[in-house]
Assembly symmetry: C2
Homo-oligomer: 216 residues x 2
């Protein structure tokens, strides 16, 4: 097996996609799936599917394909989503509230266990789903107490770096950043940025130039 080489970032993204498709297929009653079929469903190349899986082991049966249920388990294990993760959300505006209530997060084992803001009007209030909004200054103690492992930033750009620093100081080394800014963090801290406005810029460019047929 080709295990232990360096693994492309895009491979991880695709594993997540494969997993979603496998869930749907299991729901539809499929027991096995070929790399061709899975690739078609995910709009990628069949060899890509096999190579992606090949980084982590040999999960298929030649001449048959992959066991739908088994492969889900393997991907969950690889991605470390075969367990629950506690999230702390900072910035309880419209977007933060929407995330707190977002069903898909809970379903996938990402639990929003704490909400923070710096607005005195909001602190102490009860956010959706009965979560009390805490003062941002309580972040460090709450992280310890509630075992928060992933921080979510839904503040305006101006506050993002300050919040990121608090997370880093509290030893949270995974951040999902929805603010339209790139935050600076030490190498030990992992960041994923979700910036709608950048994505809209890309769409504007693409539609004007009519290139890049499909997006991952």
């Amino acid at each position: 097996m080709q295990k232990s080489t360096h693994i492309p970032k895009a491979t991880i993204t695709r594993l997540s996609l494969y997993y979603r498709q496998l869930e749907l297929m299991e729901f539809d009653g499929y027991r096995t799936v070929s790399s061709d079929k899975l690739a078609w469903l995910c709009q990628v190349n069949p060899a890509q599917v096999r190579k992606d899986l090949g980084y982590f082991g040999e999960f298929g049966v030649r001449g048959v394909g992959y066991d739908v249920k088994e492969l889900q388990e393997q991907i969950k294990r690889i991605l470390a989503i075969n367990r629950e993760w506690n999230l702390g959300i900072v910035g309880i505006g419209k977007l933060g509230s929407a995330l707190l209530q977002h069903r898909n997060l809970q379903v996938r084992g990402f639990n929003c266990v704490a909400a923070f803001d710096n607005d005195p009007e909001k602190i102490g209030e009860t956010a959706p789903l009965g979560i009390r909004i805490r003062d941002i200054e309580e972040l460090k103690t709450a992280v310890k107490e509630l075992n928060i492992e992933i921080g979510v930033i839904t503040t305006p750009a101006s506050a993002a770096q300050y919040v990121a620093d608090l997370f880093v100081e509290a030893d949270v080394n995974a951040i999902l950043n929805f603010s339209p800014t790139r935050i600076q963090v030490p190498d030990c801290c992992m960041v994923e940025n979700i910036d709608f406005t950048v994505r809209l810029d890309i769409l504007a460019y693409k539609v004007r130039n009519e290139i890049y047929a499909k997006a991952i």
Copy 2:
């Protein structure tokens, strides 16, 4: 100049980042900026900045750098964000409502001009910012009437493909898809997917494996 070669997708994403930094720099009073400085701010390689810009022309002055204001204008022109774009949002749940009210979209010239849902309870109601919620079945006529060029999908996964088909039929060929599903569209239609749960999966993987220091 190296114009008209094929342009990497990542280049477009970075142009959007450069633009945001340039806005901040102008606000801070800078008149010019070197590729080194801009690169440092955006956490990329200086040669990358020059190469990215080089795809589209020669915007700098040797020995000096780039004019902060001028470069903003050029990037706006390249990305086609030197104009306004009309958005139609489908699925007025928590996330859809949050987007309707999102200041950053308007500021950047992305106007939410219509809201759609299929829930009879919601249709006819007034969404945030005084926008009337329309029946999803009115989509095609509203697209024509309001000149909607970008469709935004904030429905559950189960409805996403149906909505995408409506957009395609209405000749909207740019879609921002927030649902946790990959939609199938013809090549003429551009799609950008924003899927938080995939991003959280990636974070889970990264934090478990402690690799990939920084993300773009």
